[in-house]
Amino acid sequence: MKKRLRLTQCLFVASLLSSCGGGNPSGTDEEFKPSLDAQTQCFIKVDGDYSNFEALEAEFDRFKEYYPNVHLSYVKIDGSISDVLNGEEAPNIFFCHPKMIGNEQYASVVSHMEDLSNPALKMNLDCIRPNLLKRDSEGKVFMVPVFSRTYGTIINKDLFNKEGIKIPNNWNELVSVCESFVEKGYKSPMMGYTNYDLDSKKERTKVSNGFQNTVAYPLFVAELAKNPDALALANKLDPSAGQYMRGALQKIRDLIDNGCVSLEECDKLEDNYDKVLLRFLDGDIPMMVCNGDTVSGIKKREQKSDTFNPDKEAYAPFKYEFYPIPLTEQGGYFIDSPSVQFAVNKDCENLDMTNEFMRFLLRTKELDNLASLKGLICSTKTTPFAPIYDPFKKVYDPVYAPFNNVASDRRISPEVIGIKDELATQIRIASFYVGRGELTVDEAVAKYGQFK
């Protein structure tokens, strides 16, 4: 089993380090050289589900330096991308997800996607980590990841220093650290969003993707990565695969039962984004468990926090970084999965200019810039943990730097090993209920494949 795991991990690492085998040899990472008439006047629209994509708008500005008469806009769409693509104002570029490929439900969406690996387009796919690049059975690339997402915990480094506690590197240290903080009066050394998603009336709507999943998912993926047979069963939602969740689910219980996490305190968080970040920025939470998408908003939330406002009495800024959660004796994992992917609508107006923009964007420099501004992990090969930009201090902060220390055999790409969405749903829901105490570990294991 160990041999298989190592083989899989070696393949992943090799794919990280190598260039994209079937990629386009024409595209380069050199300085962008416009290939169209600089005075071209047209509109390009990018549709996505981010309510706000200022980082991409900054890229629009940079692109307009070459094409000043090209008008680019980002539109947050409501509802189905399929409706938009087939509607009267179809976008040029749109957000998409790897699960769409080969999924009948998204056939109409995929039918609009342009093959970006077409050599004629000269897209520089080589700059992206190959493990993030989704290819179909023919090796075609219909979408390119612009960010990566992972799971971890934001650590208040100044608080650790203040209390004289070392940042934990493995499970035992983590438990010990939590005990130390509890002893010093901290009610919940670790926090995260543990509740249901709430609507505007604060009514429960659905299972959230919070603390529980952030802890359980990496452990479950790592467990399946060791055992391809188990992975196959799990992907088939075979109930027998539920046992492979056990370790992950038990860790949640252990964290709660050991006093590392106080559900009571966590339930005070009203959402899984703003409130999580603002609570952490209050400065009295040693560790806030979340994923990279949440971390991306932390710099802007500093503005809203009294702790980071020099005009407030509570002003006491501190240093923080995002760490893998040391849930095993060997430490934590870097689960490297794509966050946002772009596809080009091959049926859109101004396709040439759309591809020109993609050529402009698919370069290490621009993708790093995009990730830095967005505050997410970058999808490029060379600088995955690039510092993120602090728009107020006008500086770059290496928030993701601790992930550089994750050993290569603990870097796992769910896409490479073949994790399917349905599987992810099972662990997310199971862990949520276990964490909430609504199911025991055994009950959750037994219900594998039945969570909707």
Binding site: E54, S73, V75, D78, G79, N86, G87, K300
Partner: protein
């Protein structure tokens, strides 16, 4: 003031002016910018009003539909049918959505279908919180932009609550009047061209965009502001943006400064319209820097120009100072020289006078001393005249006094003046003329004399004993109408000049020095005066010289020809013989004599002349006239004449011609039988007059000049206040038998003339500067007398006021002539004779 201080002051002024311009321009810029901003705000407000009216109009339609649907208790299908009928806009649609399950009907089918009107807002998160929808008719209930689930088009909607009949029960729903944003955006632009770069957005009370344009980033305006500002937006400004009209500056996503104008509309709903434009598009920006730039460039150019001019003038001043210093030194040197040069003749005069007083009985010594005193006096006079002339020239007061004059007389005068020195230094002198057809010219004779005399006297002065001086004068056609071109060339074999000296030879007080001639007396003014005179007469002067070999000066003057010339001069056809060893003279003399009608033969020596005369006699003929040069090798002119008279016994009129003074040979020449004397150069008129004279009255010619017996018995009234001057003039005139009466001043002279009988005085000599009445006033008074004789009596000024304007002043006062003191008695006598001759006519 030192140069550096001038520059510092200039720089300070420049900086001050720039600062002023900057401050002024800045204030103007601020004022302009303020106006622009106000204008921008006003335009935004206008746009707000227009937008509000438009949105209200759309909302009103929604309100009308809602009222009607509510009033008619319609089912969803009935309501949808009603709206389909009412709807006229092509791209607009309406959605009727139940608030409990977010489903409903659309008035238009889903894209790609014809009969699917079902619509769901379940994923839109628009109706989870409906607090933004107010009662019908009270607000503009406008939604955020969202994706129309029926066609995927980004849209906004005007909404109202409605109650639908659902199986007899009233069921709460929301009516969405849906409009595509793209259509609105196309119309929603700034009307003013000056703000074409401005973009608009509408935000709700939270800053979320309802509608946004390209330059507005993020999904929330305040987040956009915070992303690029140095500090987060404060609550006060947040409130202002939503509730007030105003503007402020902010940075856009490219870090450029922008002006953001905001104005609320639908105040109860908390909507605001924003307009954003980069400040560089405000006109005021560029004008400001353009002005400062131009002023800066202008001041800098002025500064550079000033500095350049200052440096130029400094340099000029340095040169001028150097020149002044040099001039001062030159004048000091000159004064020193003058002191020496004046004292030298004065010393001679005083010393010789003392010697004479002590040896009055030694007649020979007295005579010799007096001759030397006269020489010293003349030199002193020349010196004083030169000083006065250069003074006049330098002060620019030298005026020309043109008058008719004879060039022949001028040359004669030139010859007379130069003879003593030529003789003294035994200079080999020759004077050639060529084609001198016009005798009388109209110009300032005095200045021309000065030019010719200065050059010739210099040549003689700077030529060593036994050296050679040659003068050539020729007449040519002039380019100037009514003029002839007179070229005067004097060449010597003197000391010559160095190139260094020649570079400054026309400057005053410069004299060439040479060990051979360091005893030469001179003022160093001669050439300077000559050059000024030539320039004044519009001529040119050229000099070729080589140190140690000699100098050649050439003066060319275009001089007007006098109206009256001598009548044509023709003699009877006579045989003439001219004898001279000088080929040039022979050539010109033969031409001249031929032009007078003579048949001329020439001999180049005395021996040859003897042979020719003898040969002529053997043919039974004689020359009618023979002209023989005085100085010839082997046999000179006197010896030749003597032998002619002795050997041939012919009574042929023989004229002796020479470029030298007659005084030494006159007696001997007369003894050997010379008929008359001719001075070189040989002018036609001179020759014509002399031949006529010889053939008419023999042996008279040489006597006329020195015979003043015709003046004996004249009585002259001398008006002179100075006793010594009176004594001199009266004594001098008395020696020629001329009596005088004195008037001590002008008034007495007038009185004497009033009382005098007709013919009492031949003329009046009038001093100018006198007590009681000066000479000018006295002359005017005499001219005003009733007695015609008295009022027309010739009056000659006799004054030390020797300048040309003094002469003019005298003539203008009514005088007939001018004699400068110290007086030359021969000039006085000549003037008296001229007056006498004139009175005869």
């Amino acid at each position: 003031m030192k140069k550096i201080w001038v520059i510092i002051v200039n720089v300070l002024i420049m900086v001050g002016m720039l600062a002023f311009v900057f401050v002024y321009s800045d204030s103007e810029y601020r004022a302009t910018a303020k106006r622009q901003v106000e204008h921008f705000e006003t335009t935004t407000v206008s746009m707000g009003r227009v937008t509000e009216n438009y949105l209200e109009g759309e909302q009103r339609i929604c309100d009308v539909w809602s009222h009607y649907i509510n009033d008619e208790n319609m089912t969803m299908e009935q309501a949808a049918g009603f709206i389909r009928v009412s709807h006229v806009l092509k791209n607009a649609s309406a959605h009727l959505i139940y608030v409990d399950d977010f489903t409903g009907l659309s008035t238009r089918p889903k894209s790609g279908t014809e009969d699917n009107f079902d619509v769901s807002y379940a994923h839109l998160n628009l109706l989870n919180d409906t607090s933004w929808i107010h009662e019908v008719g009270t607000h503009i209930n406008i939604s955020r932009s969202y994706t129309n689930p029926m066609n995927g088009v980004q849209s906004i909607a005007f909404c109202n609550f409605i109650n639908l009949n659902d199986g007899g029960n009233a069921r709460k729903a929301v009516l969405f009047r849906v409009l595509p944003i793209s259509e609105l955006m196309q119309k929603w632009v700034f009307p003013q061209e000056e703000f074409e770069k401005a973009e608009l957005s509408i935000i709700d009370k939270n800053g979320d965009y309802i509608i946004k344009n390209e330059s507005f980033k993020n999904s929330n305006f305040f987040e956009f502001y915070n992303s690029y500002a140095d500090n987060p937006i404060d609550n006060e400004l947040r409130k202002k943006v939503i509730a007030d009209t105003g503007s402020f500056y902010m940075l856009n996503s490219q870090g450029r400064q922008c002006i953001l104008a905001h104005t609320p509309f639908d105040t109860t709903g908390g909507l605001a319209i924003l307009s954003l434009m980069e400040t560089r598009y405000l006109n005021a920006t560029t004008q400001n820097w353009l002005l400062i730039g131009i002023v800066s460039a202008g001041l800098l150019a002025l500064f550079i120009f000033d500095v350049a001019v200052m440096l130029y003038f400094n340099k000029r001043l340095q040169i001028t100072a150097k020149e002044a210093k040099s001039a001062s030194k030159a004048k000091t040197d000159f004064l020193s020289t003058m002191s020496h040069d004046i004292r030298t003749p004065m010393n001679a005069i005083i010393g010789l006078t003392t010697l004479t007083e002590k040896n009055l009985k030694d007649e020979k010594l007295v005579r010799e001393n007096l001759r030397k005193i006269a020489l010293a006096s003349n030199h002193l006079l020349t010196l004083i005249n030169d000083i006065l002339d250069i003074s006049k020239v330098e002060s620019g007061k030298l005026n020309l006094v043109p008058q008719n004059f004879s060039i022949v007389e001028t040359v004669e005068n030139l010859m007379n003046l130069s003879q003593p020195m030529i003789k003294e230094k035994n200079i080999d002198f020759s004077f050639h003329i060529s084609r001198m057809e016009k005798e009388y010219l109209y110009a300032d004779q005095l200045r021309i004399n000065q030019i010719y005399i200065n050059i010739l006297s210099n040549a003689i002065k700077y030529t060593e004993a036994n050296g050679r001086v040659t003068v050539d004068m020729k007449e040519e056609e002039s380019q100037k109408e009514g003029c002839v071109r007179l070229t005067y060339r004097v060449a010597d074999t003197g000391i010559g000049m160095t190139p260094e000296f020649m570079a400054n030879m026309y400057q005053a007080f410069s004299r060439q020095t040479d060990s051979r001639v360091n005893t030469i007396q001179g003022t160093g003014l001669g050439l300077a005066i000559t050059k000024q005179m030539v320039d004044l007469l519009g001529g040119t002067i050229d000099c070729q010289s080589e140190s140690g070999k000699g100098t050649t000066f050439t003066v060319t003057l275009d001089l007007p020809v006098a109206e009256h010339q001598r009548a044509e001069m023709k003699l009877e056809a006579m045989d003439a013989l001219i004898v001279d060893d000088d080929e040039v003279l022979l050539e010109t003399a033969v031409d001249t004599m031929n032009s007078l009608g003579l048949k001329v033969e020439e001999a180049r020596s005395g021996q040859e002349a003897l042979g020719m005369i003898k040969h002529k006699q053997t043919d039974g003929k004689n020359y009618d006239i023979v002209i023989i040069d005085l100085k010839m090798p082997d046999m000179d002119g006197i010896e030749t004449i003597r032998r002619i008279r002795e050997e041939i016994k012919a009574n042929i009129p023989i004229l002796l011609i020479s470029a030298y003074s007659w005084s030494d040979v006159e007696q001997e020449a007369k003894e050997v039988g010379v008929s008359g004397f001719l001075s070189k150069p040989l002018f036609p008129s001179t020759l014509y007059d002399k031949i006529n004279e010889i053939l008419g009255t023999e042996n008279k010619s040489a006597e006329v000049e020195s015979d003043y017996s015709d003046l004996k018995g004249l009585n002259i009234l001398v008006t002179e206040d100075n006793d010594i001057n009176w004594e001199i003039i009266s004594a001098l005139l008395e020696t020629y038998g001329i009596t005088t009466e004195r008037a001590e001043n002008g008034r007495i002279a007038v009185e004497k003339m009033q009382k005098a009988e007709k013919g009492s005085y031949a003329l009046v000599f009038m001093d100018i500067q006198m007590p009681e009445m000066n000479g000018l006033d006295a002359t005017r008074a005499i001219r005003a007398l009733d007695d015609p004789w008295a009022s027309n009596i010739p009056i000659i000024a006799m004054t030390a006021d020797a300048f040309s304007e003094n002469v003019t002043e005298c003539l203008n006062a009514g005088m007939n002539g001018h004699i400068a003191k110290p007086i030359d008695i021969k000039l006085v006598l000549k003037e008296i004779r001229r007056i006498k001759e004139k009175s005869k006519t």
